[in-house]
Subunit: 220 residues, 2 copies
């Protein structure tokens, strides 16, 4: 950590937690169901795969206990509920009965350990897998509202993708941006800030390793 | 500084030195001759204005001697020649006789202290102002070639803007990217990596303060 700065923020936070390339992409070009992060997109997340806390969340042993690891552990512990877009959940966007990945990417026991709210126009009953319940909500504002109610006083993590991040930022629903800058130039794909308007932010914290630079901004 | 890493690079380097917002812009929307950096663009550079080494380069006294300042000093000292785009030089893009700012932004004594090569299709004799000579060259490749010849064994700084940065990166002419990430979301403007292709990079060094995060990448 280079410097921690008191954010002055009080109480429950809603924060974006997302990995971006140096050229601003959260996924590469040519996304498919087989390659949901597009060309080069999986490489963005290499920084996290070897960390002890990430591996433990995913039922794996071992891993490194670096400054990145401590950040990932803190981020997970503060998250009392999660919000994500439909594409991040399943890769699809149409009616659920046409979605070959309608139960998401994470198998029988997703690693969240807290309620997850999925933003979608397509109605669906809640889905419980292992210790995680996914609730399907129409609209980012309502999803964040329900997540705050469910978070038990902890913070609400908006996990992506770019579209819900832009919607939340533009609607003034985010208190904090946690951006993990991966040392990659993807050259195309899905831009994190494609449709985001101007906004005042303040740098709070920087954690860095050769694998990624972690930037925390308070949103004004 | 969080970590310095030996780059493995030998000899004279050509490096990009540029400030970018968190959402990837080097200038805001609505650029005019009166407001060449567009809406909010000047705020990107606030991090440098109070630093001792920057102030000394510009003939001003005082200033802070922070880690950012040390970085700016090192960057200036290693720069044996500069390359920039026509728009960065004058804000114009047509024939010189139609350019109301044809001698650039820096007055009678520009702060470079080394030869500057300006990329332009429009022919012009060299221009000497104070200790700085501006030479006008057609094409980024030829400009970098001439700058390397003139740099006296020191490095060549590509100072921007976005267009020449993309041209140099895509042509494989850059060894290093020095990106100063300013804590701003501009919401529009000129993207640093708009037309840049995918490329392997490696994080070498991070320097951070509340005013900016300085990221140094070696280009593979």
């Amino acid at each position: 950590m280079i410097f921690p700065r008191s954010s002055g923020l009080q109480g429950m936070q809603t924060f974006l937690n997302i990995t971006m390339s140096v050229d601003g992409f959260v996924a590469g070009p040519n996304q498919t169901l087989e390659q949901p992060l597009g060309d080069g997109g999986e490489e963005l997340h290499e920084w996290i795969l070897g960390l002890e806390s990430w591996r433990r969340q995913h039922g794996l042993e071992g891993g490194e206990a670096t400054a990145d690891d401590e950040l990932v552990r803190q981020t997970h512990e503060r998250s009392g509920a999660f919000v994500m877009g439909r594409r991040m959940f399943s890769g699809g966007d149409g009616p659920w009965e046409d979605d070959p990945n309608a139960n998401g990417w994470w198998g029988d026991d997703p690693p969240f350990g807290a309620p997850v709210y999925v933003v979608t126009h397509h109605r669906r009953e809640p889905l419980s897998l292992g210790a995680t319940t996914f609730t399907f909500v129409d609209g980012i504002k309502e999803a964040i509202r329900q997540a705050r109610d469910a978070a038990g006083g902890r913070d609400v993590q908006l996990s992506g993708g770019a579209s819900v991040a832009q919607q939340a930022l533009n609607a003034g629903l985010l208190d904090e941006l946690d951006i993990h800058v991966a040392p990659r130039l993807l050259g195309g794909g899905v831009r994190l800030f494609e449709e985001a308007g101007p906004r005042a932010i303040e740098l709070q914290r920087v954690v860095a390793s050769p694998h990624a630079t972690h930037l925390v901004y308070a949103v004004g």
